[in-house]
Symmetry: C2
């Protein structure tokens, strides 16, 4: 059952409708369905799309991301969607409710593509994922990509590899037709899930400095170089504690933290956002998929000499029932033994291991730490040697 999308929409719709009233009681003027067209810094005001202006003392840019599209003819046809905002989700849901959608094509196999393939397939709709590479989710090791591919197959989600999209047209048997280098395929719904970019349009027009990432540059207090102007969330950069570089990894939990830091500081506090380690996870059907830190390429780009190992172990003790198979990959620096990153895939326990390793990364721990670290052991929750220990000791011996 597609409880996930459905419930989120229901809850957020209620929440959004209540938002302005709720805040009004506390003296805060929250305006929804309102677009800021321009910031007039000299006058200290923003100009709205209805022509009115609002004064400000402090300005916080939280403009998020824009969904990317392939940029092909017909991508704006009715029935072709991107999924970024709540209204995108509501539009997709309305289409699924109002039309008989017999078949869906998802373009892109990142985590949004994966989550949506589950949600749509679970409605009983024939679902295909079209991807420009041969395996889903580029961030993860190809061995894990194959496990995810098998999981899609197990749930009868088709996967078309090495795709270049060319155009979308009206279809014959189904409502739409997608033209690619691999031929022509029809569907009633096409979802373009090929990524996002920071929405820094207002910032650019204000001449605020953007990073190489295209996102707004901030300091650890979430301030831009312009006095009284803050930026938070997906439109801004974060400090990556492992690569020691400023990055843009648009994720809801990071945005929440940055928002709190900015708010606290604007309110007279003095706290910092201490950065990220790149922890991330998603669920696709029965599989937990999680990663943290850097992969080998990212590690090499950051000046490390990465070594890695990938092991298969049990997420819980071998004597317990259930599918316990857990794949864990560790990446470390050959010179220092410092842990640089981790990836995990399995029906249980993958996210748990990645969070433990995220804490280890946060603290700058080494393979020697990870190999002997004290973790809570009981057969229903792990083996006496956790996959973390096994992978860390395996990699340590290779060095």
């Amino acid at each position: 059952m597609p409880y996930y999308i459905g419930d989120v929409i229901k809850e957020e719709k209620k929440l959004i409708a209540r938002t302005p009233e709720k805040f009004r009681e506390t003296g805060i003027d929250v305006r929804i369905n309102t677009r800021v067209e321009e910031v007039d810094e000299k006058a200290g005001q923003v100009r709205l799309s209805d022509g009115t202006a609002l004064p400000y003392d402090v300005l916080v840019l939280g403009t998020g991301t824009m969904p990317l599209t392939p940029g092909i003819p017909g991508e704006d046809l009715e029935g072709v969607f991107t999924l970024k905002s709540l209204s995108d989700a509501l539009r997709i849901k309305a289409r699924l409710r109002d039309l008989p959608v017999r078949k869906a094509i998802i373009v892109g196999a990142g985590f949004i593509g994966m989550e949506m393939s589950e949600a749509i397939r679970n409605l009983g709709i024939e679902t295909q994922v079209f991807h420009r590479r041969t395996l889903p989710v580029n961030r993860w090791d190809p061995e894990f990509g194959k496990v995810i591919l098998a999981e899609l197959g197990r749930h009868e989600v088709g996967f078309v590899t090495d795709v270049e999209t060319r155009a979308v047209e009206k279809g014959k048997e189904y409502r739409l037709r997608l033209i690619t280098n691999r031929g022509e395929d029809e569907a009633d719904l096409i979802l373009m899930a090929v990524g996002v970019r920071p929405n820094a349009e207002l910032a650019r027009r204000m001449d605020l400095p953007l990073g190489k990432t295209g996102a707004i540059q901030v300091n650890f207090s979430q301030q831009t170089p312009r006095e009284g102007v803050y930026a938070v969330g997906d439109c801004s950069e974060s400090f990556h504690r492992i690569s020691r570089r400023w990055v843009n990894i648009p994720l809801g939990d990071v945005a929440n933290k940055q928002g709190r830091v900015a708010g606290w500081n604007i309110g007279g506090g003095n706290i910092i956002f201490p950065g990220i380690v790149g922890a991330q996870c998603f669920k696709v059907f029965d599989l937990e998929v999680a990663a943290t830190g850097l992969d080998e390429r990212g590690a090499a780009e950051a000046g490390f000499h990465p070594v890695s190992t990938l092991i298969w172990g049990n997420s819980i003790a071998g004597s317990m029932p259930g599918n316990k198979k857990l794949g864990l990959k560790l990446i470390a620096d050959r010179a220092t033994g410092k842990l640089l990153g981790a990836q995990a895939v399995g029906e249980m326990g993958a996210v748990s291991r990645i969070n433990t390793l995220s804490a280890a990364l946060w603290a700058g721990l080494t393979l020697d730490d990870a190999g002997w670290m004290d973790l809570a052991y009981a057969p229903p929750f792990g083996g006496s040697w956790d996959p973390i220990h096994i992978a860390a000791q395996t990699l340590r011996r290779q060095m």
Copy 2:
């Protein structure tokens, strides 16, 4: 179904029977059902109970623990058990198989008592836990003790508080009768689960120094002060990285690690066992119960000035189905903000949080770290603010 006990016994029986042969192939002489009565250090040999002697160059003491008993008349009657060794488990299982056991009494509400109450109750046997205190599992906050008590109640396990045992006798309606300060209660099986103590008998006779814990003193290489004599596992001490004291916390994963360290060093390697943080967990019916680090009392004893908070949050996002209620308690040092310990209880996600916090404790992180740490977020696995963040920020604000 009591898959847990049953499968472990089946598997270990097979394993044990195969052990000597298996090792013989590798040139290692493993003797089972063999008791070392005395160590003759001058002669460099051990004397076995069958009167023969075996020479050694290096001696490793891995003598484990002895189960405690209340020391009351009748505690050695047939049908009264302790649970420490595999043969204890096999004897209990045989009794359950061979007799109609209609009712069982478990004396003690530590984690062995809790695990066994689940295992026995799941066989359909009327089960009561008799405990000397008012709440189970002393290590955990009383608020969590109450949750565990409710879980026992939900599964119709009786709980008798403030018990002092006096004697065991033959029963009338059932096979045995337990006499306590609370009256007389009958049952077909009585399990004494009142704890264990290090079995340091051989070490004591060798005049090896024991710690205040009663366990064998070792260094970080698992060596005793006597050349060529090592000690590992439940009979030895471990360095607690948070209290900075040598402790005896008998757990299988710690024993495994210490054994590996000793073996490596005896084989010519040079590695250390870097200590523990006191991570521990168990399952009782549908509840995960986990803890790490110190509680307030332990923290105060170690010279810290503990402060704590206990919050109730969601183990996964509010929009997801299932019982998500998760209790998390954090203990920190008022002077430094350093994290000192954590406890968690819930139907899901408790062990996962405790392992993440164990890594944080291992690394010596503070509440500021724990409050902003980057964890993998997706609704099926957590909220955008994890209970760890919420508890750490709550406690931080109190300081």
